[in-house]
């Protein structure tokens, strides 16, 4: 190992301490903005002519 167990434990404890400090809640308006951007992207994509027979660009194989 490149770092000691003590050093690794220190990293984990530091992250736990940081995690225990509650992060600021995300304003709902920011999330709504992101949703609207997603919606806008979908509307742009919906304008592309798409033959019904076009399959998604991935394949399942048994």
């Amino acid at each position: 190992m490149d770092i000691s167990r003590r050093q690794l434990a220190g990293i984990i404890l530091a992250s736990t301490a940081v995690a225990q400090a509650p992060p600021k809640p995300q304003p709902e308006s920011d999330i709504e903005t992101a949703r609207l951007q997603q919606r806008a992207a979908a509307q742009i994509i919906a304008r592309v002519p798409l033959p019904m027979t076009t399959e998604p660009a991935f394949q399942f194989k048994a």
Binding site: L8, I12, A19, D30, T33, Q38, I45
Partner: protein, 473 residues
């Protein structure tokens, strides 16, 4: 103890390997010098996520024993390199650049790390990255556990992302090469902004096993080096079949510099005239025009083309939203997503859970049309030349979506090429306001040898790839 001259930090893979085999210095001495350098200078650019000095020096001693017995493993033997911190290295933190994963440890090496270990390359560092490879639509360079990636050419500028650390570390001579990743632009962008050569391979050519997934159908790993030839040498070792990667293309890559090229006049390179006239940012236009003239002077046939028209940005963002939203669902629902650094990234990831399946599937169906359109494009040309980015690196302290100088180029090759799974190479081609500018070549699937061959020829005619940023000792 041999003195490692400053030029060594900027030497090519072949040059370094030859010096090791000639015993100008030992692998241990070389590794120690690179470790000293990256630990001292890496933090200036927030490029270093974790130094791997102890294990690197141990590996270097093994290589020295092999070289003493003339047991050679190829050109990467003894060469110091770094990996973007989304690649697992056994029993050491792999943070994905993100606070929620700061203490994450895997008990295995990523497949590419295993391959590079097997040929004697020396992993000296985990390199910084944008948190979670930026899939939630980050807006600031500070979207990283290690702080904003800073550009070795000007530390007020961004190094690019999401492979920020690899771009800066190669440019500043902190590693000889690095492994980055690209979902949509994350190798080509930092390569362009930092003035290094980056190669994004065909989807599936390099195993993703052991790498953080952002988007299963878009993620690729690739080399970031100081030259096209170095990219070829690294790709030769990291490419190949891996049954652990469901996206593995089942093909390998053999670098064949001698027999790759047909007569140059038979090679057709397509381009959009606006890209090399006044389409890019004004400061970048002279370098791009000059690079176009160099490409023409190689003897290839150049031809005006039109890139297929699709809403590439919307397609990429929707596909990433569907796949990353699933990959990081637990992170988002647990609330730990709020620990990320960039508020837009947090909001973007949360919104992903509301994406209807029909929207993702429609994007994937249109993607089939994109693939077909690029296939048809490559019936009329062998590769496409374009600016890698339309201007130099933006300021690190400003929002990344702040309006810049006006451009007329449509862009689209980065998202379009990624959607179609195509390979591309970014080649430094000059400077704009003291910052690197680059061109890119996009090829058809598994056309890496041909892209590298043109890159080699371009780099024989120019020396942009040999320029060094003002890194103090």
């Amino acid at each position: 103890m041999a003195t490692i001259a400053p030029d060594i930090f900027f030497a090519s893979i072949s040059e370094l390997n030859a010096k090791l085999r000639a015993k100008e210095f030992s692998c241990h001495e070389l590794t120690q010098a690179f470790c000293d350098r990256i630990e001292r200078i890496g933090p200036r650019y927030n490029a270093l996520a974790l130094s791997l000095r102890k294990q690197a020096l141990s590996k270097a001693k093994d290589v020295d024993r092999e070289l003493k017995r003339d047991r050679t493993r190829g050109p990467l033997q003894g060469i110091p390199y770094g990996v973007k911190d989304l690649l697992a290295v056994k029993k050491l933190p792999t943070t994905w650049g993100a606070k929620p994963y700061a203490a994450q440890v895997f008990d295995y090496d990523a497949h590419v790390v295993e391959r590079l270990n097997a040929v004697g390359a020396i992993l000296i560092a985990k390199l910084s990255m944008v948190e979670l490879a930026g899939g939630g639509d980050y807006r600031t360079a500070a979207a990283s556990l290690t702080g904003p990636g800073l550009n070795p050419w000007d530390r007020t500028r961004w190094s690019g992302g999401s492979s920020s650390g690899p771009g800066a570390a190669v440019a500043a001579g902190l590693v000889t090469f690095a492994i980055g990743s690209e979902t949509s632009g994350s190798i080509l962008t930092p390569a362009a902004f930092c003035g290094v050569t980056g190669l994004r391979p065909t989807y599936g050519l390099v195993s993703r096993s052991g790498a953080m997934a952002l988007s299963w159908t878009l993620d690729k790993l690739g080399p970031m080096c100081r030259s096209a030839e170095d990219c070829a040498l690294v790709l030769h070792e990291i490419a190949g079949v891996d049954t652990q990667d469901s996206g593995s293309a089942g093909r390998s890559f053999n670098y064949r510099p001698q027999d790759t090229m047909r007569r140059l006049a038979e090679i057709t390179i397509g381009y959009m005239p606006v890209d090399f006239q006044d389409g890019a940012e004004p400061a970048a236009q002279p370098a791009l025009k000059a690079a176009f003239d160099v490409i023409k002077s190689l003897g290839v046939t150049v031809k005006e083309i039109q890139i297929p028209e699709f809403p590439y940005g919307a397609l990429v963002s929707t596909i990433i939203a569907g796949e990353a939203g699933s990959i990081f669902e637990d992170l988002i629902r647990s609330g730990k997503v709020d620990e990320l650094a960039d508020p837009h990234q947090i909001a973007g990831l949360k919104a992903m859970l509301d994406l209807p399946a029909t929207e993702y599937l429609r994007a994937m169906r249109v993607r089939s049309l994109v693939k077909a359109a690029f296939h048809d494009l490559f019936l009329n040309c062998d590769m496409v030349l374009a600016p890698a980015r339309l201007g130099p690196a933006p300021k690190a302290a400003e929002p990344l979506d702040a309006p810049g100088p006006p451009t007329r180029s449509r862009g689209g090759l980065i998202p379009g090429g990624n959607l179609a799974g195509l390979p591309a190479i970014s080649l430094p081609c000059g400077f704009a306001e003291g910052l690197p500018v680059a061109i890119s070549l996009l090829g058809r699937p598994f056309y890496e040898n041909q892209l590298i061959a043109i890159g080699n020829l371009f780099q024989k005619q120019t020396d942009w790839h040999r320029r060094r940023p003002p890194v103090e000792a």
